[in-house]
Symmetry: C3
């Protein structure tokens, strides 16, 4: 069966959501596959994936701020703090969002809703180089 697999390297700028929809669409187009599913996999435990509104940036800012309040960095009950105050919260935020997403495509295009974008959510304060494995099955 047609399997097209590639790794996307994404440079983050510290905490926050970063849209990767266009990069995934480009790889899909290059694969030549028409219909099937795109599986997106985040190879890390301190960043994650989320499908979110990509029209009004205030929605993403509110989402990021809300999660920051739910999982504060100064939690005295954390013991896993070797890499800093943002270490343990980054794992918790990852676990509450997603590591893998499966997105359908047809006619060589991702079947996203009108307002949906695919985002890599960096949970560490420092910029990181992140690897996202894309596998298209069609």
């Amino acid at each position: 069966m047609p399997v097209h697999q590639t790794t996307l390297t994404v440079r983050t700028r510290g905490q926050g959501t970063l849209e990767i929809t266009d990069e995934i669409s480009r790889v899909l187009k290059a694969s030549g596959l028409a219909q099937g599913v795109a599986t997106v996999f985040c190879q890390h435990t301190s960043c994650s994936l989320v499908l979110m509104e990509n029209a009004d940036p205030s929605a993403r800012r509110d989402l990021e701020a809300w999660l920051q309040r739910l999982v504060p960095e100064d939690d005295p009950q954390s013991t896993h703090t070797l890499e800093g105050a943002d270490d343990m919260p980054s794992h918790i935020k990852m676990a509450l969002t997603r590591t893998s997403e499966t997105i359908p495509f047809a006619d060589g295009k991702l079947l996203l809703g009108t307002w949906q974008g695919i985002f890599l959510w960096e949970h560490r304060r420092a910029p990181h180089t992140r690897s996202i494995v894309l596998t298209f099955l069609g």
Copy 2:
């Protein structure tokens, strides 16, 4: 490879979980596929998917009430409020649950656990027409 793709249109009745297991099973049966995976994709950012107990409705009511308390509608820190007080909470609740699920099937039947049902979780107060893309790979 055999790919069977279709869009399910679901009319919600406002906030709450709505079971869509039977609809998905029917499309699977019609596809004629025997073994593989069903991918379920929600094309929206203000509703989501969840696999939940479908026996005792009190479990779903408690789950819905708990999430409502975690993400209240009167949060003074929300700025993305153009569409009303339930706008931003609906995105947050979506991000904490699921946009895509991948469910195995064999002998033309979904391999769900005894108590598992597939639910569309509407997070907006008003009824909406929602699109769920089903892709069966087998």
Copy 3:
């Protein structure tokens, strides 16, 4: 198309995360498939899946303790308590984490990040026998 499907039976020891990466890797190897995706599906609504750091156990302990504080067992607003105080919290914790994960593989090996392990997260206090359906598409 090559579909390899099997059910993994896992005996849990009560609440906590239990690594199942090696079991999944073994089934993948036995399938003889080289490249594609592994879909992991939890057939229960009171336990779940999570991809988490598998190096320092303190990260998992902190994650488990944090979720325990977010979803306490003595919530007076729970009504679904027939099976005990850990009944309803187990469903909530499941809904906040994952029921299905899709993990790419190449050269017969799961493409996990350096620190990633696949965990079954038992949310009930008592040990349980759990079923995880693995479907490899390649």
